[in-house]
Symmetry: C2
Subunit: 270 residues, 2 copies
DNA sequence: GAGTGGTCTAGACCACCTT
DNA sequence: AGGTGGTCTAGACCACTCA
Protein backbone atom coordinates (compact mmCIF):
# COMPACT_ATOMS: atom_id res chain seq x y z
CA UNK A 1 0.00 0.00 0.00
CA UNK A 2 2.70 2.43 0.99
CA UNK A 3 4.38 1.72 -2.33
CA UNK A 4 1.79 3.94 -3.94
CA UNK A 5 4.20 6.83 -3.59
CA UNK A 6 6.14 5.65 -6.62
CA UNK A 7 7.06 8.42 -9.03
CA UNK A 8 5.09 6.99 -11.92
CA UNK A 9 1.75 8.68 -12.29
CA UNK A 10 -0.41 5.83 -11.07
CA UNK A 11 -3.53 7.68 -12.09
CA UNK A 12 -2.57 8.07 -15.68
CA UNK A 13 -3.28 4.40 -16.01
CA UNK A 14 -6.78 3.37 -17.01
CA UNK A 15 -9.10 3.83 -14.07
CA UNK A 16 -9.40 0.82 -11.80
CA UNK A 17 -13.10 0.34 -12.33
CA UNK A 18 -13.13 1.20 -15.97
CA UNK A 19 -14.88 4.24 -17.22
CA UNK A 20 -15.01 6.87 -14.52
CA UNK A 21 -13.77 10.44 -14.56
CA UNK A 22 -10.18 10.99 -13.75
CA UNK A 23 -10.81 12.89 -10.54
CA UNK A 24 -12.74 9.95 -9.15
CA UNK A 25 -9.76 7.67 -9.69
CA UNK A 26 -7.67 10.11 -7.74
CA UNK A 27 -10.36 10.17 -5.08
CA UNK A 28 -10.33 6.37 -4.93
CA UNK A 29 -6.60 6.33 -4.57
CA UNK A 30 -6.71 8.72 -1.62
CA UNK A 31 -9.52 6.73 -0.03
CA UNK A 32 -7.37 3.64 -0.29
CA UNK A 33 -4.54 5.43 1.43
CA UNK A 34 -6.87 6.50 4.21
CA UNK A 35 -8.37 3.06 4.67
CA UNK A 36 -5.01 1.35 4.64
CA UNK A 37 -3.87 3.47 7.54
CA UNK A 38 -1.29 5.21 5.41
CA UNK A 39 -3.16 8.43 6.15
CA UNK A 40 -4.64 8.13 9.65
CA UNK A 41 -7.33 10.40 11.06
CA UNK A 42 -6.02 13.90 11.51
CA UNK A 43 -3.09 13.39 9.14
CA UNK A 44 -2.24 16.08 6.67
CA UNK A 45 -2.51 15.16 3.03
CA UNK A 46 0.31 15.95 0.62
CA UNK A 47 -0.04 19.38 -0.92
CA UNK A 48 -2.13 19.76 -4.03
CA UNK A 49 0.97 20.39 -6.10
CA UNK A 50 2.64 17.31 -4.72
CA UNK A 51 -0.41 15.25 -5.59
CA UNK A 52 -0.05 16.27 -9.21
CA UNK A 53 2.87 13.84 -9.48
CA UNK A 54 4.44 16.01 -12.13
CA UNK A 55 2.69 14.35 -15.02
CA UNK A 56 -0.06 15.96 -17.05
CA UNK A 57 -2.47 16.40 -14.18
CA UNK A 58 -3.91 19.86 -13.72
CA UNK A 59 -4.21 21.13 -10.20
CA UNK A 60 -7.90 21.74 -10.81
CA UNK A 61 -8.41 18.03 -11.31
CA UNK A 62 -6.69 17.26 -8.03
CA UNK A 63 -8.87 19.82 -6.34
CA UNK A 64 -12.00 18.25 -7.76
CA UNK A 65 -11.04 14.98 -6.14
CA UNK A 66 -10.41 16.81 -2.88
CA UNK A 67 -13.77 18.57 -3.02
CA UNK A 68 -15.48 15.26 -3.58
CA UNK A 69 -13.83 13.81 -0.50
CA UNK A 70 -14.74 16.89 1.48
CA UNK A 71 -18.39 16.54 0.47
CA UNK A 72 -18.26 12.93 1.60
CA UNK A 73 -16.95 14.04 4.97
CA UNK A 74 -13.72 12.10 4.61
CA UNK A 75 -11.34 15.04 4.61
CA UNK A 76 -11.52 18.68 5.62
CA UNK A 77 -9.37 21.73 5.18
CA UNK A 78 -7.97 24.36 7.41
CA UNK A 79 -8.12 27.54 5.41
CA UNK A 80 -4.89 28.06 3.48
CA UNK A 81 -3.16 25.51 5.61
CA UNK A 82 -3.92 22.18 4.00
CA UNK A 83 -6.16 19.17 3.73
CA UNK A 84 -6.55 16.74 6.63
CA UNK A 85 -8.19 13.39 7.18
CA UNK A 86 -11.45 13.79 9.09
CA UNK A 87 -11.64 12.12 12.50
CA UNK A 88 -14.60 9.86 13.19
CA UNK A 89 -17.80 11.84 13.79
CA UNK A 90 -19.32 12.01 17.21
CA UNK A 91 -22.89 11.02 17.86
CA UNK A 92 -25.06 13.96 18.73
CA UNK A 93 -28.50 13.67 20.24
CA UNK A 94 -30.19 17.04 20.16
CA UNK A 95 -33.06 15.80 22.30
CA UNK A 96 -30.84 15.03 25.27
CA UNK A 97 -30.19 17.65 27.85
CA UNK A 98 -26.74 16.34 28.57
CA UNK A 99 -24.36 18.90 27.18
CA UNK A 100 -21.58 18.81 24.65
CA UNK A 101 -18.88 18.33 27.29
CA UNK A 102 -20.68 15.29 28.63
CA UNK A 103 -21.32 13.26 25.57
CA UNK A 104 -18.12 14.06 23.80
CA UNK A 105 -16.34 12.69 26.87
CA UNK A 106 -18.63 9.68 26.96
CA UNK A 107 -17.45 8.81 23.49
CA UNK A 108 -13.84 8.85 24.51
CA UNK A 109 -13.01 12.18 22.92
CA UNK A 110 -11.71 15.37 24.48
CA UNK A 111 -14.12 18.32 24.38
CA UNK A 112 -13.11 21.94 24.84
CA UNK A 113 -14.96 25.22 24.86
CA UNK A 114 -13.81 28.76 24.25
CA UNK A 115 -16.18 31.58 25.04
CA UNK A 116 -15.73 34.21 22.37
CA UNK A 117 -18.42 36.65 23.46
CA UNK A 118 -20.48 36.94 26.65
CA UNK A 119 -22.59 40.03 27.00
CA UNK A 120 -25.95 41.55 27.59
CA UNK A 121 -27.11 42.61 24.16
CA UNK A 122 -30.26 43.78 22.39
CA UNK A 123 -32.41 40.93 21.14
CA UNK A 124 -32.26 40.33 17.40
CA UNK A 125 -35.64 39.68 15.73
CA UNK A 126 -35.46 35.88 15.69
CA UNK A 127 -34.56 35.66 19.37
CA UNK A 128 -37.08 38.31 20.34
CA UNK A 129 -39.86 36.29 18.78
CA UNK A 130 -38.82 33.11 20.53
CA UNK A 131 -38.59 34.77 23.93
CA UNK A 132 -41.70 36.83 23.37
CA UNK A 133 -39.98 40.14 24.05
CA UNK A 134 -39.54 43.31 22.05
CA UNK A 135 -36.82 43.44 19.46
CA UNK A 136 -33.90 45.14 21.17
CA UNK A 137 -34.82 44.03 24.67
CA UNK A 138 -31.75 42.94 26.64
CA UNK A 139 -30.81 39.26 26.45
CA UNK A 140 -27.68 37.44 27.51
CA UNK A 141 -25.78 36.52 24.39
CA UNK A 142 -22.98 33.98 24.25
CA UNK A 143 -20.81 32.98 21.36
CA UNK A 144 -18.72 29.91 21.95
CA UNK A 145 -16.41 27.72 19.96
CA UNK A 146 -16.34 24.04 20.76
CA UNK A 147 -13.59 21.63 19.86
CA UNK A 148 -13.12 17.90 19.82
CA UNK A 149 -9.60 16.58 20.31
CA UNK A 150 -8.31 20.05 19.57
CA UNK A 151 -10.20 20.49 16.31
CA UNK A 152 -12.78 23.28 16.29
CA UNK A 153 -16.05 21.74 15.16
CA UNK A 154 -18.81 24.17 15.96
CA UNK A 155 -19.70 27.76 16.69
CA UNK A 156 -22.76 28.46 18.74
CA UNK A 157 -24.77 31.53 19.58
CA UNK A 158 -26.88 31.24 22.68
CA UNK A 159 -29.46 33.57 24.07
CA UNK A 160 -30.83 33.40 27.61
CA UNK A 161 -33.38 35.62 29.26
CA UNK A 162 -31.99 37.73 32.13
CA UNK A 163 -35.37 37.33 33.82
CA UNK A 164 -34.75 33.63 34.19
CA UNK A 165 -31.07 33.80 35.10
CA UNK A 166 -30.05 37.19 36.48
CA UNK A 167 -26.30 37.59 36.81
CA UNK A 168 -25.59 34.64 34.52
CA UNK A 169 -22.37 36.10 33.20
CA UNK A 170 -20.75 35.86 36.63
CA UNK A 171 -20.43 32.12 36.24
CA UNK A 172 -17.77 30.28 34.26
CA UNK A 173 -19.33 29.80 30.85
CA UNK A 174 -16.96 27.32 29.27
CA UNK A 175 -18.76 24.33 30.69
CA UNK A 176 -22.35 23.22 30.53
CA UNK A 177 -24.73 26.14 30.44
CA UNK A 178 -27.66 23.85 31.06
CA UNK A 179 -26.03 22.68 34.25
CA UNK A 180 -25.51 26.23 35.48
CA UNK A 181 -29.12 27.05 34.80
CA UNK A 182 -30.22 24.05 36.73
CA UNK A 183 -27.85 24.26 39.66
CA UNK A 184 -27.76 28.02 40.16
CA UNK A 185 -31.24 28.99 39.09
CA UNK A 186 -33.26 25.83 39.54
CA UNK A 187 -34.32 25.99 35.92
CA UNK A 188 -34.46 22.68 34.12
CA UNK A 189 -35.38 21.65 30.64
CA UNK A 190 -38.64 19.84 30.03
CA UNK A 191 -38.87 20.20 26.29
CA UNK A 192 -36.49 20.60 23.39
CA UNK A 193 -37.47 21.87 20.00
CA UNK A 194 -34.80 21.30 17.41
CA UNK A 195 -34.43 22.24 13.75
CA UNK A 196 -31.52 21.15 11.60
CA UNK A 197 -30.46 21.64 8.04
CA UNK A 198 -27.37 21.46 5.87
CA UNK A 199 -25.83 24.81 5.04
CA UNK A 200 -22.69 26.50 3.82
CA UNK A 201 -20.70 28.24 6.50
CA UNK A 202 -20.60 31.98 6.09
CA UNK A 203 -17.55 34.11 6.62
CA UNK A 204 -18.20 34.73 10.31
CA UNK A 205 -18.64 31.10 11.33
CA UNK A 206 -16.03 29.81 8.96
CA UNK A 207 -13.25 32.05 10.15
CA UNK A 208 -13.92 31.12 13.76
CA UNK A 209 -13.55 27.47 12.72
CA UNK A 210 -10.47 28.07 10.58
CA UNK A 211 -12.53 26.94 7.63
CA UNK A 212 -13.07 28.49 4.25
CA UNK A 213 -16.35 30.36 3.79
CA UNK A 214 -18.67 28.09 1.84
CA UNK A 215 -17.48 24.95 3.58
CA UNK A 216 -20.39 22.53 4.00
CA UNK A 217 -21.90 22.68 7.45
CA UNK A 218 -24.96 21.80 9.46
CA UNK A 219 -27.10 24.27 11.38
CA UNK A 220 -28.80 23.14 14.57
CA UNK A 221 -31.28 25.50 16.18
CA UNK A 222 -32.45 24.41 19.58
CA UNK A 223 -35.08 26.01 21.75
CA UNK A 224 -35.45 24.54 25.20
CA UNK A 225 -38.35 25.13 27.54
CA UNK A 226 -38.90 24.47 31.21
CA UNK A 227 -41.93 22.66 32.62
CA UNK A 228 -43.89 25.93 32.67
CA UNK A 229 -43.29 26.44 28.97
CA UNK A 230 -40.87 29.33 29.39
CA UNK A 231 -37.95 29.52 27.00
CA UNK A 232 -34.81 28.54 28.85
CA UNK A 233 -32.27 28.74 26.08
CA UNK A 234 -32.21 29.63 22.41
CA UNK A 235 -29.22 28.10 20.75
CA UNK A 236 -27.95 28.24 17.19
CA UNK A 237 -25.07 25.92 16.35
CA UNK A 238 -22.99 25.80 13.20
CA UNK A 239 -21.20 22.49 12.80
CA UNK A 240 -18.58 21.29 10.41
CA UNK A 241 -20.65 18.76 8.54
CA UNK A 242 -18.19 15.91 8.96
CA UNK A 243 -17.91 16.27 12.72
CA UNK A 244 -21.11 14.60 13.82
CA UNK A 245 -23.97 12.30 13.19
CA UNK A 246 -27.39 12.96 14.58
CA UNK A 247 -29.02 10.26 16.60
CA UNK A 248 -32.53 10.45 17.97
CA UNK A 249 -34.46 7.76 19.75
CA UNK A 250 -38.14 8.35 20.42
CA UNK A 251 -40.73 6.27 22.16
CA UNK A 252 -44.31 6.92 21.22
CA UNK A 253 -47.11 6.91 23.79
CA UNK A 254 -48.77 3.50 23.37
CA UNK A 255 -52.36 4.75 23.27
CA UNK A 256 -52.02 7.47 20.64
CA UNK A 257 -54.50 7.48 17.77
CA UNK A 258 -54.05 6.41 14.18
CA UNK A 259 -53.08 9.64 12.55
CA UNK A 260 -52.20 11.47 15.72
CA UNK A 261 -48.87 13.14 15.73
CA UNK A 262 -47.12 12.94 19.05
CA UNK A 263 -44.79 14.12 20.20
CA UNK A 264 -44.76 17.06 17.84
CA UNK A 265 -46.95 18.73 15.31
CA UNK A 266 -44.35 19.38 12.63
CA UNK A 267 -45.56 22.83 11.84
CA UNK A 268 -43.69 24.64 9.12
CA UNK A 269 -41.65 27.43 10.63
CA UNK A 270 -39.99 29.17 7.67
CA UNK B 1 -34.33 44.80 -10.68
CA UNK B 2 -35.19 43.21 -13.96
CA UNK B 3 -32.87 45.73 -15.60
CA UNK B 4 -29.98 43.63 -14.36
CA UNK B 5 -29.98 41.85 -17.70
CA UNK B 6 -28.15 44.75 -19.32
CA UNK B 7 -25.38 43.68 -21.66
CA UNK B 8 -22.64 45.40 -19.72
CA UNK B 9 -20.75 43.00 -17.53
CA UNK B 10 -22.17 44.17 -14.23
CA UNK B 11 -19.76 42.02 -12.29
CA UNK B 12 -16.65 43.48 -13.80
CA UNK B 13 -17.35 46.48 -11.68
CA UNK B 14 -15.82 46.54 -8.22
CA UNK B 15 -17.70 44.15 -6.01
CA UNK B 16 -20.67 45.63 -4.22
CA UNK B 17 -19.35 45.08 -0.74
CA UNK B 18 -15.76 45.88 -1.54
CA UNK B 19 -13.14 43.26 -1.30
CA UNK B 20 -14.63 39.86 -1.91
CA UNK B 21 -13.72 37.26 -4.50
CA UNK B 22 -15.24 37.65 -7.89
CA UNK B 23 -17.32 34.50 -7.73
CA UNK B 24 -19.05 35.75 -4.60
CA UNK B 25 -20.14 38.91 -6.39
CA UNK B 26 -21.66 36.72 -9.06
CA UNK B 27 -23.30 34.66 -6.35
CA UNK B 28 -24.72 37.81 -4.76
CA UNK B 29 -26.08 38.95 -8.07
CA UNK B 30 -27.90 35.67 -8.62
CA UNK B 31 -29.24 35.73 -5.07
CA UNK B 32 -30.64 39.17 -5.74
CA UNK B 33 -32.35 37.90 -8.85
CA UNK B 34 -33.85 35.06 -6.86
CA UNK B 35 -35.03 37.25 -4.01
CA UNK B 36 -36.48 39.83 -6.34
CA UNK B 37 -38.69 37.21 -7.93
CA UNK B 38 -36.90 37.50 -11.23
CA UNK B 39 -35.96 33.85 -10.79
CA UNK B 40 -38.82 32.14 -8.91
CA UNK B 41 -38.59 28.73 -7.25
CA UNK B 42 -38.17 26.03 -9.86
CA UNK B 43 -37.02 28.43 -12.57
CA UNK B 44 -34.10 27.46 -14.75
CA UNK B 45 -31.06 29.67 -14.56
CA UNK B 46 -29.41 30.98 -17.71
CA UNK B 47 -26.76 28.62 -19.01
CA UNK B 48 -23.25 28.89 -17.64
CA UNK B 49 -22.03 30.28 -20.93
CA UNK B 50 -24.76 32.86 -20.99
CA UNK B 51 -23.86 33.94 -17.48
CA UNK B 52 -20.34 34.71 -18.67
CA UNK B 53 -21.72 37.86 -20.32
CA UNK B 54 -19.00 37.67 -22.93
CA UNK B 55 -16.50 39.69 -20.98
CA UNK B 56 -13.38 38.28 -19.41
CA UNK B 57 -15.15 35.87 -17.10
CA UNK B 58 -14.00 32.28 -17.21
CA UNK B 59 -16.67 29.63 -17.05
CA UNK B 60 -14.89 28.14 -14.06
CA UNK B 61 -15.56 31.30 -12.11
CA UNK B 62 -19.25 31.14 -12.95
CA UNK B 63 -19.30 27.54 -11.86
CA UNK B 64 -17.70 28.40 -8.54
CA UNK B 65 -20.55 30.82 -7.85
CA UNK B 66 -23.03 28.13 -8.81
CA UNK B 67 -21.38 25.57 -6.54
CA UNK B 68 -21.53 28.02 -3.68
CA UNK B 69 -25.25 28.51 -4.20
CA UNK B 70 -25.74 24.78 -4.45
CA UNK B 71 -23.96 24.27 -1.12
CA UNK B 72 -26.22 26.89 0.40
CA UNK B 73 -29.24 24.98 -0.85
CA UNK B 74 -30.46 27.86 -3.01
CA UNK B 75 -30.11 26.17 -6.37
CA UNK B 76 -29.74 22.61 -7.60
CA UNK B 77 -28.90 20.95 -10.86
CA UNK B 78 -30.43 18.26 -12.96
CA UNK B 79 -27.52 16.35 -14.38
CA UNK B 80 -26.46 17.79 -17.72
CA UNK B 81 -29.71 19.66 -18.00
CA UNK B 82 -29.18 22.88 -16.10
CA UNK B 83 -29.35 24.77 -12.85
CA UNK B 84 -32.67 25.49 -11.15
CA UNK B 85 -33.85 27.54 -8.20
CA UNK B 86 -34.56 25.31 -5.22
CA UNK B 87 -38.13 25.23 -3.94
CA UNK B 88 -38.70 25.85 -0.24
CA UNK B 89 -37.70 22.87 1.88
CA UNK B 90 -40.30 20.78 3.61
CA UNK B 91 -40.24 20.13 7.32
CA UNK B 92 -39.43 16.55 8.14
CA UNK B 93 -39.95 15.03 11.55
CA UNK B 94 -38.29 11.63 11.65
CA UNK B 95 -39.83 10.82 15.02
CA UNK B 96 -43.37 10.97 13.70
CA UNK B 97 -45.00 7.89 12.36
CA UNK B 98 -47.03 9.86 9.87
CA UNK B 99 -45.59 9.09 6.47
CA UNK B 100 -44.13 11.15 3.70
CA UNK B 101 -47.40 11.37 1.78
CA UNK B 102 -49.12 12.78 4.84
CA UNK B 103 -46.87 15.55 5.89
CA UNK B 104 -45.89 16.69 2.46
CA UNK B 105 -49.61 17.17 1.79
CA UNK B 106 -50.06 18.90 5.14
CA UNK B 107 -47.55 21.46 4.02
CA UNK B 108 -49.45 22.23 0.86
CA UNK B 109 -47.14 20.36 -1.46
CA UNK B 110 -47.82 17.47 -3.78
CA UNK B 111 -46.08 14.21 -2.86
CA UNK B 112 -45.56 11.30 -5.22
CA UNK B 113 -43.96 7.90 -4.92
CA UNK B 114 -42.55 5.56 -7.50
CA UNK B 115 -41.68 2.07 -6.44
CA UNK B 116 -38.51 1.09 -8.27
CA UNK B 117 -37.94 -2.32 -6.73
CA UNK B 118 -40.14 -4.58 -4.61
CA UNK B 119 -38.85 -8.06 -3.96
CA UNK B 120 -37.95 -10.72 -1.47
CA UNK B 121 -34.18 -10.57 -1.30
CA UNK B 122 -31.32 -11.90 0.84
CA UNK B 123 -30.56 -9.67 3.81
CA UNK B 124 -27.43 -7.56 3.47
CA UNK B 125 -25.21 -7.45 6.58
CA UNK B 126 -26.51 -4.16 8.01
CA UNK B 127 -30.15 -5.20 7.74
CA UNK B 128 -29.42 -8.69 9.02
CA UNK B 129 -27.94 -7.26 12.18
CA UNK B 130 -30.87 -4.95 12.77
CA UNK B 131 -33.43 -7.71 12.28
CA UNK B 132 -31.38 -10.25 14.16
CA UNK B 133 -31.36 -12.74 11.31
CA UNK B 134 -28.63 -14.46 9.35
CA UNK B 135 -26.98 -12.57 6.52
CA UNK B 136 -28.77 -13.73 3.39
CA UNK B 137 -32.04 -14.56 5.12
CA UNK B 138 -35.03 -13.44 3.04
CA UNK B 139 -36.35 -9.94 3.70
CA UNK B 140 -38.76 -7.79 1.79
CA UNK B 141 -36.79 -5.07 0.08
CA UNK B 142 -38.29 -1.93 -1.40
CA UNK B 143 -36.61 0.84 -3.30
CA UNK B 144 -38.74 3.90 -3.83
CA UNK B 145 -38.32 7.33 -5.25
CA UNK B 146 -40.28 10.15 -3.68
CA UNK B 147 -41.03 13.47 -5.26
CA UNK B 148 -42.39 16.80 -4.13
CA UNK B 149 -44.25 18.89 -6.70
CA UNK B 150 -42.75 16.71 -9.39
CA UNK B 151 -39.16 17.06 -8.27
CA UNK B 152 -37.50 13.84 -7.11
CA UNK B 153 -36.10 14.53 -3.65
CA UNK B 154 -35.23 11.21 -2.08
CA UNK B 155 -34.46 7.58 -2.69
CA UNK B 156 -35.21 5.10 0.02
CA UNK B 157 -34.39 1.48 0.67
CA UNK B 158 -36.72 -0.28 3.06
CA UNK B 159 -36.47 -3.69 4.59
CA UNK B 160 -39.34 -5.47 6.31
CA UNK B 161 -39.37 -8.90 7.88
CA UNK B 162 -41.65 -11.41 6.10
CA UNK B 163 -42.36 -12.92 9.51
CA UNK B 164 -44.13 -9.72 10.53
CA UNK B 165 -45.89 -9.01 7.26
CA UNK B 166 -46.29 -12.12 5.09
CA UNK B 167 -47.48 -11.32 1.60
CA UNK B 168 -46.62 -7.65 1.92
CA UNK B 169 -45.81 -7.27 -1.76
CA UNK B 170 -49.42 -7.95 -2.71
CA UNK B 171 -50.41 -4.51 -1.49
CA UNK B 172 -49.98 -1.25 -3.37
CA UNK B 173 -46.66 0.06 -2.16
CA UNK B 174 -46.72 3.60 -3.47
CA UNK B 175 -48.51 4.94 -0.41
CA UNK B 176 -47.73 4.73 3.26
CA UNK B 177 -46.01 1.52 4.19
CA UNK B 178 -46.53 2.19 7.86
CA UNK B 179 -50.26 2.41 7.27
CA UNK B 180 -50.31 -0.95 5.46
CA UNK B 181 -48.42 -2.56 8.28
CA UNK B 182 -50.87 -1.19 10.78
CA UNK B 183 -54.08 -1.83 8.90
CA UNK B 184 -53.31 -5.16 7.30
CA UNK B 185 -51.06 -6.71 9.90
CA UNK B 186 -51.95 -4.91 13.11
CA UNK B 187 -48.34 -3.87 13.55
CA UNK B 188 -47.80 -0.38 14.84
CA UNK B 189 -44.75 1.65 15.68
CA UNK B 190 -43.91 2.34 19.30
CA UNK B 191 -40.36 3.52 18.91
CA UNK B 192 -38.25 5.19 16.24
CA UNK B 193 -34.50 5.19 16.19
CA UNK B 194 -33.08 7.66 13.69
CA UNK B 195 -29.59 8.51 12.54
CA UNK B 196 -28.82 11.31 10.10
CA UNK B 197 -25.73 12.73 8.51
CA UNK B 198 -24.70 14.85 5.55
CA UNK B 199 -23.26 12.90 2.66
CA UNK B 200 -22.43 13.04 -1.01
CA UNK B 201 -24.82 11.10 -3.22
CA UNK B 202 -23.23 8.14 -4.91
CA UNK B 203 -23.81 7.13 -8.48
CA UNK B 204 -26.76 4.87 -7.70
CA UNK B 205 -28.79 7.36 -5.68
CA UNK B 206 -27.80 10.31 -7.78
CA UNK B 207 -28.89 8.84 -11.07
CA UNK B 208 -32.27 7.90 -9.65
CA UNK B 209 -32.66 11.54 -8.60
CA UNK B 210 -31.37 12.96 -11.89
CA UNK B 211 -28.52 14.45 -9.89
CA UNK B 212 -24.81 14.38 -10.46
CA UNK B 213 -22.86 11.89 -8.33
CA UNK B 214 -21.22 13.85 -5.54
CA UNK B 215 -24.18 16.17 -5.08
CA UNK B 216 -24.58 17.05 -1.41
CA UNK B 217 -27.21 14.97 0.32
CA UNK B 218 -28.48 13.85 3.67
CA UNK B 219 -28.79 10.26 4.81
CA UNK B 220 -31.57 9.30 7.18
CA UNK B 221 -31.56 5.81 8.63
CA UNK B 222 -34.66 4.93 10.55
CA UNK B 223 -35.37 1.78 12.51
CA UNK B 224 -38.87 1.46 13.88
CA UNK B 225 -39.98 -0.99 16.53
CA UNK B 226 -43.35 -2.15 17.76
CA UNK B 227 -44.37 -2.23 21.40
CA UNK B 228 -42.78 -5.66 21.81
CA UNK B 229 -39.45 -4.35 20.60
CA UNK B 230 -39.55 -6.15 17.27
CA UNK B 231 -38.13 -4.33 14.27
CA UNK B 232 -41.00 -3.22 12.08
CA UNK B 233 -39.13 -1.39 9.37
CA UNK B 234 -35.55 -0.59 8.51
CA UNK B 235 -35.38 2.40 6.23
CA UNK B 236 -32.47 4.19 4.61
CA UNK B 237 -33.29 7.48 2.88
CA UNK B 238 -31.05 9.58 0.67
CA UNK B 239 -32.30 13.14 0.39
CA UNK B 240 -31.28 16.04 -1.76
CA UNK B 241 -29.86 18.24 0.94
CA UNK B 242 -31.87 21.31 -0.03
CA UNK B 243 -35.22 19.53 0.02
CA UNK B 244 -35.88 19.41 3.73
CA UNK B 245 -35.31 20.65 7.20
CA UNK B 246 -35.39 18.37 10.16
CA UNK B 247 -37.68 19.25 13.00
CA UNK B 248 -37.85 17.34 16.24
CA UNK B 249 -39.84 18.21 19.33
CA UNK B 250 -39.22 16.22 22.47
CA UNK B 251 -40.75 16.38 25.87
CA UNK B 252 -38.68 15.04 28.69
CA UNK B 253 -40.22 12.97 31.50
CA UNK B 254 -40.57 15.44 34.39
CA UNK B 255 -39.05 13.20 37.06
CA UNK B 256 -35.89 12.15 35.27
CA UNK B 257 -32.58 12.46 37.11
CA UNK B 258 -29.84 15.05 36.72
CA UNK B 259 -27.53 13.37 34.32
CA UNK B 260 -29.94 10.77 33.16
CA UNK B 261 -30.33 10.47 29.46
CA UNK B 262 -33.87 9.84 28.38
CA UNK B 263 -35.16 9.10 25.96
CA UNK B 264 -32.08 7.62 24.42
CA UNK B 265 -28.63 6.52 25.37
CA UNK B 266 -26.75 8.03 22.45
CA UNK B 267 -24.51 5.06 21.93
CA UNK B 268 -21.96 5.32 19.16
CA UNK B 269 -22.95 3.02 16.35
CA UNK B 270 -20.18 3.34 13.79
C1' DG C 1 10.33 33.75 3.10
C1' DA C 2 8.84 29.54 1.38
C1' DG C 3 4.98 27.04 0.61
C1' DT C 4 0.01 26.48 0.92
C1' DG C 5 -4.49 26.87 -0.71
C1' DG C 6 -7.72 30.47 -3.01
C1' DT C 7 -8.91 32.65 -7.12
C1' DC C 8 -8.90 33.29 -11.99
C1' DT C 9 -8.23 33.05 -17.21
C1' DA C 10 -8.71 30.74 -21.74
C1' DG C 11 -8.96 27.53 -23.98
C1' DA C 12 -10.62 22.27 -25.28
C1' DC C 13 -13.31 17.90 -25.91
C1' DC C 14 -16.89 14.89 -24.38
C1' DA C 15 -21.38 12.61 -22.83
C1' DC C 16 -25.64 13.50 -22.40
C1' DC C 17 -30.27 15.91 -22.42
C1' DT C 18 -33.50 18.25 -25.09
C1' DT C 19 -36.01 19.30 -29.13
C1' DA D 1 -28.45 18.49 -34.11
C1' DG D 2 -27.57 21.87 -31.02
C1' DG D 3 -26.86 23.18 -26.49
C1' DT D 4 -25.98 21.87 -21.75
C1' DG D 5 -23.16 20.72 -18.06
C1' DG D 6 -18.99 17.56 -16.94
C1' DT D 7 -14.22 17.06 -17.27
C1' DC D 8 -9.65 18.55 -18.12
C1' DT D 9 -5.20 21.14 -19.21
C1' DA D 10 -1.76 24.82 -18.35
C1' DG D 11 -0.75 28.39 -17.04
C1' DA D 12 -0.91 32.82 -13.49
C1' DC D 13 -1.08 35.84 -9.32
C1' DC D 14 -2.54 36.58 -4.62
C1' DA D 15 -3.45 36.17 0.58
C1' DC D 16 -2.39 33.78 3.93
C1' DT D 17 -0.11 30.23 7.22
C1' DC D 18 3.74 28.38 9.18
C1' DA D 19 8.33 27.71 10.50
Amino acid sequence: MAAARAQTAWWTQPAALGDQPHYLSIRDHIVRRIQSGDLPAGAKLPSERQLQTGAGIARGTIREALFQLEAEGQIYRRDRSGWYVSPAPIIYDPTRWAGFMTYVSEQGRIPATTTLVAELAPAPPAAAEVFGVEVGAPLYALRRRRSIDGRPVLIEDIQVSPALAPGLLRFPLDGSLTQILKREYGVSVARNRVDMWPCALTKAEASALAAKPGTPGLVVVRTSFDAAGRVVEYDREYWRHDAMRIHVDTRVPPNAGDDAQPPSAARPRP
